[in-house]
Symmetry: C2
Subunit: 217 residues, 2 copies
């Protein structure tokens, strides 16, 4: 049965980006440490056209298991296009993922701009959905068949989906850094949301905490 999952990396103190983000340092001060667990990860590197990395540890296994389970992705427009600029000024942007994006699956992009689907190398097709998060998830469910729909980010799209009760499972990759300030995970919900622990995996860099979000389906 198709589950809707969210995965997101945060600092131990709950930030998905550090303070003072700039174009050169979009993750803010200290934010590059958030994704160190991915950058040294053989599975992740191979999918992004890079060699090397460590292929045997738990951080790596987490990426493999997630990829294996996923049948379609949903993402926000900024995650597709790399910010406001390219999307607005380029009539036919490819996003910042290049000609052979690392998804190799259908990807549904939330946007306000209607646009034809964009089929790229390696099986990645970006489909642009203007009907909101529920419509995007509905299309992604169909495309995923029996596999999962993974909401890949950004944090605002993940928050919308969690707040609307549309998410079955949430995995937080906890990076070993205190950022102290910055962009919070799921900033400003209206109400607390209870979680049911499913699994904890301990990588050499990140801890991976998975929860079920109950009661909505």
């Amino acid at each position: 049965m198709t589950r809707v999952r969210v995965e997101i990396t945060m600092s131990l103190d709950g930030y998905v980006a550090g303070p003072a983000a700039t174009l050169e340092a979009p993750l803010g001060a200290g934010g590059e440490q958030l994704h160190e667990w991915l950058f040294r990860n053989a599975s992740w590197r191979a999918r992004h056209g890079l060699g090397g990395g460590d292929g045997t540890d738990a951080d790596n296994g987490i990426v493999d298991a997630s990829v294996e389970a996923t049948g379609a992705y949903v993402m926000g427009r900024k995650m597709f296009s790399g910010g406001e600029g390219p999307w607005e000024s380029d009539p036919n942007p490819r996003g910042w993922w290049g000609d052979d994006p690392p998804f190799h699956l259908p990807v549904f992009v939330l946007t306000h701009h209607e646009r034809e689907p964009l089929a790229l190398q390696g099986g990645t097709t970006f489909t642009f959905v203007t009907g909101g998060i529920e419509a995007a998830l509905e299309q992604a469910r169909s495309a995923a068949a029996d596999r999962d729909v993974l909401i890949a980010g950004g944090a605002d799209v993940a928050r919308q989906a969690v707040a609307a009760g549309l998410v079955d499972e949430l995995t937080v990759h906890v990076a070993p850094v205190l950022l102290g300030d910055g962009v919070r995970l799921f900033d400003s919900f209206d109400a607390p949301i209870e979680l049911s622990p499913v699994d904890v995996a301990n990588g050499p860099i990140a801890a991976h905490l998975t929860y079920r979000i109950g009661g909505h389906r």
Copy 2:
């Protein structure tokens, strides 16, 4: 060798209390879920004069191991007195811990008010330190002999100690709730602080993440 440790419970999204805290709900909206892992914990209940609880799970083992390792505590004045009121109006307050506090060890309380030590039942002695966090840690180190000094809270005292490079090890107990807003763990550091993962323990309710904070001694 004596280590200085900090332990603190936070929500998955990085809050140590929810929004809209009141005297009746000092942990804010949804905040009571933060400490559910302790309330059902046989070791914690026994130390607080309560019966029952589950004595066999990993959440319980975490409490036992922490107690076993600890030789002295440091805490802030609000954690001792239960807020501003009692301390200011009562010339000889016992804090809100009762006649037989659950510490059974020397406890060093950070305060601006000089005061004689307070020896209570069961081996708990509160010593009041007006010389700041470094002085409190120095006295606690002597009292702890070869065991650890545990900074028991609140979050502001823990933050001071971490920011000043005085902490060897940090354990965050992650509670299975998204609070969405409230009081952040270690609010507003000046700079990111890198951590080295030491251990991850998976209780039925909480995940317990332990890190070494390097390079300061």
